[in-house]
């Protein structure tokens, strides 16, 4: 057995008085300190966490109900607004920003007794695939300290694999949960777009941003999703949740599996292909029908994403102007200088790059050539998935074309090398379907993730299938 029991058991033990929330939180904080060298964490929320843990223990002693996640410590990516520490999105422009309200996801978890113990590192504003774009430091991969953990939720994935907490929260805009899950060997779920409220989460690209858990098991992921999912009056893009709990994991019929042809091509690393092929063999052995399925617009997905996403980013980052919160350059002599100097010093290179691309593609005269065309392509990508799901129940592919790469290897002058890391996750983000990355590597190798994609709003079915795969490993 690992450091942490399954989440539902932890909570049950706390509720029964067999475990104390204070002990659990203390244990998590201790491990965070011991594994400091991995730089997964930006800040601990120690004081508040211990206070909340005491409250949970007091409630238990009084016989009051404490919730389905009673005393369960968790780590939140630092783009979630949360009390107890600054919320920075790993960007200098938000250094020292204390959130005056909390993300709906955090509120829902806390309402069930979960306790946030720390804020995890990320690529600043979630722009990146390795955490190397963090304005503070790069997180090390728990499986190999010389390698990146993937990104942008790299701190969250590493924290889970380092046993800092039983689960961590991440955000996924083009692959930011699935990729680090794949690189670190965690389970990472990108739910259907709109299933979890984005309120209180620092926006990257609003039309593809989703919130999801990173855990070691599918069962833990299902429980965390079940607590967070559902319509939120603070986020108008949220959708109705499944009435049946997401923790009811059962496969009722033998599913038809589609292997995404375009994601198994020459660009995919040999080891990755081998692991994925092995998983596919297991499906066949179980008697599942396996087909090859095409997503013809795959070639355009990356281009489409890197138009739409920067467009939204350039808009969403406009509020960081040094006037009301966050970094403001005091040497500025007038308003224009204050804008320019605060944003020049506050934003890192990648944020600036995306602001410039986004501003460019939205400029009148270029809008039709870029943004509008990209929207048309996006519709075609959505149709690709709909066509595929008319033939199969689940789509599978590698989560990423490679395993974790060396720190510094791709942080060159060519940002495209990094963008290619998302080539298998981006199309799903544009389409809005749920997807999960499940570790499938042989025990000694670097982690490899299998991406499974399901029909929209079939998050429960997706988790059920993922659990089955987990069991056969």
């Amino acid at each position: 057995m690992g450091v942490w029991q399954p989440i539902n058991e932890i909570a049950k033990n706390v509720e029964a008085g067999k475990a104390s929330a204070v002990d659990l939180v203390t244990k998590a904080l201790k491990i965070i300190d011991e594994k400091k060298e991995y730089k997964a964490i930006i800040a601990k929320t120690e004081k508040r966490a211990l206070k909340r843990a005491k409250e949970v223990d007091t409630k238990v002693s009084k016989g009051e109900s404490v919730g389905r996640l009673a005393g369960v410590p968790f780590v939140a990516k630092d783009n979630f607004l949360a009390f107890g520490a600054d919320t920075t999105a790993a960007s200098n422009i938000l250094k020292g920003f204390e959130a005056p309200y909390q993300a709906t996801a955090i509120e829902k978890l806390e309402a069930e007794g979960a306790i946030c113990v720390a804020k995890a590192n990320l690529d600043a504003f979630a722009h990146g695939s390795s955490t190397e774009n963090s304005d503070f430091f790069t997180t090390l991969n728990p499986a190999d300290k010389t390698k990146v953990p993937g990104g942008s939720s790299g701190g969250s994935a590493a924290a889970v694999m380092l046993d800092m907490a039983p689960f961590a929260l991440g955000t996924d805009t083009g692959g930011s949960i699935r990729l680090p899950a794949s690189f670190c060997g965690a389970v990472g779920l990108k739910p259907t777009y709109g299933l979890v409220s984005r309120s209180g989460v620092i926006a990257m690209a609003s039309s593809t941003d989703v919130i999801g858990p990173l855990t070691k098991t599918v069962e833990d992921t299902a429980l965390v999703l079940d607590v967070m999912a559902g319509k939120d009056e603070l986020d108008s893009t949220t959708i109705e949740r499944d009435k049946q709990p997401y923790t009811d994991l059962e496969v009722n019929k033998k599913p038809i599996i589609g292997v995404i042809k375009e994601y198994m091509g020459d660009g995919v690393d040999g080891d990755v292909k081998k692991s994925v092929s092995k998983s596919i063999e297991q499906f066949r052995k179980k008697g599942y029908q396996v087909k090859e399925v095409g997503l013809p617009y795959t070639d355009l997905a990356l281009a489409c994403y890197y138009i739409l996403c920067p467009a939204e980013i350039s808009s969403n980052l406009a509020r960081y102007d040094g006037q009301r919160f966050g970094f403001s350059d005091k040497n500025a002599k007038n308003l224009l200088e204050s804008y320019e100097m605060s944003r020049t010093k506050g934003f890192g290179a990648e944020a600036k790059r995306r602001i410039m691309i986004g501003t460019y593609v939205l400029t009148s005269g270029y809008y039709d050539a870029y943004y509008k065309r990209a929207q048309i392509v996006r519709t075609k990508i959505i149709n690709d998935f709909e066509n595929a799901f008319s033939q199969v129940d689940f789509l599978v592919s590698p989560t990423a074309p490679v395993t974790a790469f060396k720190i510094g290897e791709k942080a060159s002058d060519d940002p495209l090398a990094m963008y290619l890391m998302d080539s298998m996750t981006i199309a799903v983000s544009l389409a809005g379907n749920p997807a999960i990355s499940v570790p499938i590597q042989e025990s000694d190798d670097m982690p490899v993730g299998l991406q499974i994609v399901a029909r929209k709003n079939r998050d429960r079915e997706l988790l059920s299938f993922a659990k089955e795969l987990e069991g056969t490993k």
């Binding site: 607004l81 919320t87 999105a89 938000l94 920003f97 959130a99 005056p100 309200y101 993300a103 984005r198 309120s199 209180g200 989460v201 620092i202 926006a203 690209a205 609003s206 039309s207 009056e233 603070l234 986020d235 108008s236 893009t237 467009a311 939204e312 350039s314 808009s315 980052l317 406009a318 509020r319 960081y320 102007d321 006037q323 009301r324 919160f325 308003l335 804008y339 501003t359 939205l362 400029t363 009148s364 809008y367 943004y371």
Partner: protein
Amino acid sequence: MKDFEQYRHKGYIPFIGIECHVQLKTKTKLFSSVSNDARNAEPNTLVSHICFGLPGALPVLNKEAVNLAAKASYALNVEPQFFSKFDRKHYFYPDLPKGYQITQFDEPIIVGGYVQLPDGSRRIQITRAHMEEDAGKSTHPTGQEYSLVDLNRAGTPLLEIVSEADMHNSLEAKAYAKELYLIMRYAGVSDGDLYHGNMRFDVNVSVTKDPKVLGVRTETKNLNSFKSVERAVDYEIHRQIELIEKEGSVMQETRGWDDSKQKTFAQRSKEEAHDYRYFPEPDLPPVELDKKQLEQIKNSMPVMPDELRNRLSVAGITTATIETLVGELDAARLMLEVINAKTGKPAVRRVANWLSTDIQGMVSDNLLSWNDIKLTVENLLQLNDLVEGSKVNSSSAKKILNILAKEGGDALTIAKERDLIQSLTNEQLEDIIKQVILENKAAAEDVKNGEAKAIGFLVGQVMKATNGKANPGFVNGFIKKQLS
């Protein structure tokens, strides 16, 4: 086909279009649940994480604002769009916290419609109207090195109504602005408090010799009275004609209005215009209207100014009186209730006269304000009954009206308290009249000789003798009979 020639001025035909920002009278802001009424609030007290543009804050559309926009659509004589959407409009300014304004760019909630000018002469076409959030308020204290920002207004729901360049002189522009104001108030869409900027007008003016080829236009922004609309339009027409005559052309630009100098002034040229980088707001799903709800809104539309004008006209009231009554919302409401009480045209005319002459007179003399008037349809009709039944004469009626307006209450009680009831029997009155004639023999002779003035004198004497409780008409008739 419009006859442009009638508008030609010094050889040029002006074209005027107006954009009007109407503040919707919702309880809360367009995208957050903070109060929308900033009139008495300290700066920056009506501000949520949404108005403040904090990280992670998402807009939530106020459904009441959508309903009011739908109402406005019917008031402008057009069905609202079943499908519309919001977009982001980007620019940097400290009173725009998010760095973009949420507005409707290419799919607004209202497309088309018109405003009928009150004299019936013209129908001004509406291009479109869209919902959007207001920005905050910036102030720049003179001599200080700082500016102040108040975000109370940030997020206030606005409906921007854009007309075609369908007006051709300042009187039409003013009439349109005024009628639009009345329509929005009658429809209950806006409080229309001009002093607090509930309605702001931007006027687009151009002049041309050939009505088929429009001239270069200027936009004069932020006018907050009908008079300033009229004057800014006039000023621009003259300025542009002069400019063309002298220099050959007008520059496309945004201008402001200096009320103290009664002049427009240059603010921003076309080259300095922003590129707003519009794109669809990803945080808000498109607005889809509910047919049932629309049906309900349509069926509960209140009477609009033009309809009230018709009803008053049918009752035989003159155009000038009608405009006074229609232009004053409280008077209009009372008149409508009087009409609805179906007590007959004389009653309607009498009340119309009281409101447009007596009450309006007191308001003009600052003795009263329409807001505080205590008149109700009940006490007005009661007073009317007293007059019709010859229980009080017209001068007593005015005394009672005055008290009712200031203090409220019921007409009969006031008449009794002040001893204003015409309590004399006709026989008693006839005796008094005979007595007065006896006492004023000279005047009586004059009447007999056909001097009309003398009758007035005798009537006055009778009124004096009766403490004003006699019906002057009856007195007049009886004197004539006696002396004929």
